[in-house]
Symmetry: C2
Subunit: 111 residues, 2 copies
């Protein structure tokens, strides 16, 4: 068993105002999927994009909006979001504090 506070994991900048921490993944021996913690500063936007793998998201803190083909959905503490493979999706921080969520993805086999 491995234990670590997410805040101790080095963060990577994804885009301006958006960081990602890989809290559990292949380096820890996880065989199937990786857990990341994502943070959006106030006003940060990640534009719509898509990829062949799914997201399973759990919102920890803040107030945001997720946008998909069916419109916009609110992101707030305790909200779980499922983004299917190949579905366009984007997020923005719509609040005054940090938007923080857990995002789990499968290990990406091949390209």
């Amino acid at each position: 068993m491995l234990s670590q506070a997410y805040s101790e994991v080095p963060e990577e900048q994804v885009e301006e105002g958006i960081t990602l921490r890989w809290v559990i993944g292949e380096p820890e021996g996880a065989p199937n999927f990786a857990m990341r913690v994502v943070e959006f500063q106030p006003g940060a936007v990640f534009d719509a994009h898509e990829h062949p793998y799914e997201h399973e998201i759990f919102v920890l803190e803040g107030e945001g909006v997720a946008a998909g083909p069916d419109g916009e959905m609110p992101m707030g503490p305790g909200v779980a979001l499922y983004v299917p493979p190949n579905e366009p999706h984007g997020y923005r921080n719509a609040g005054t504090g940090i938007l923080r969520f857990v995002c789990v993805i499968p290990h990406q086999k091949g390209t």
Copy 2:
């Protein structure tokens, strides 16, 4: 994209004082893994057990202890825990409030 507050998902009782909610899984079309939210009432204990699949855990709230072959590890908000396949593990709520965590597991193929 699907969105749901975890608290809207019906809870299943696992053991006395311990409930589980399947917030994202095969019914939602998730192809690889399932996200659950687990709650321990104060004093609740889940004894050591093991299974052939891993856990990726993120603690949301409360104060607990996870026990594994290498001893005990504290569970508190923001702590990520990785439990490898086939490793004995147990949990207990060591605080005065609810212990709540996200626990992600792979879909179980076969028996």
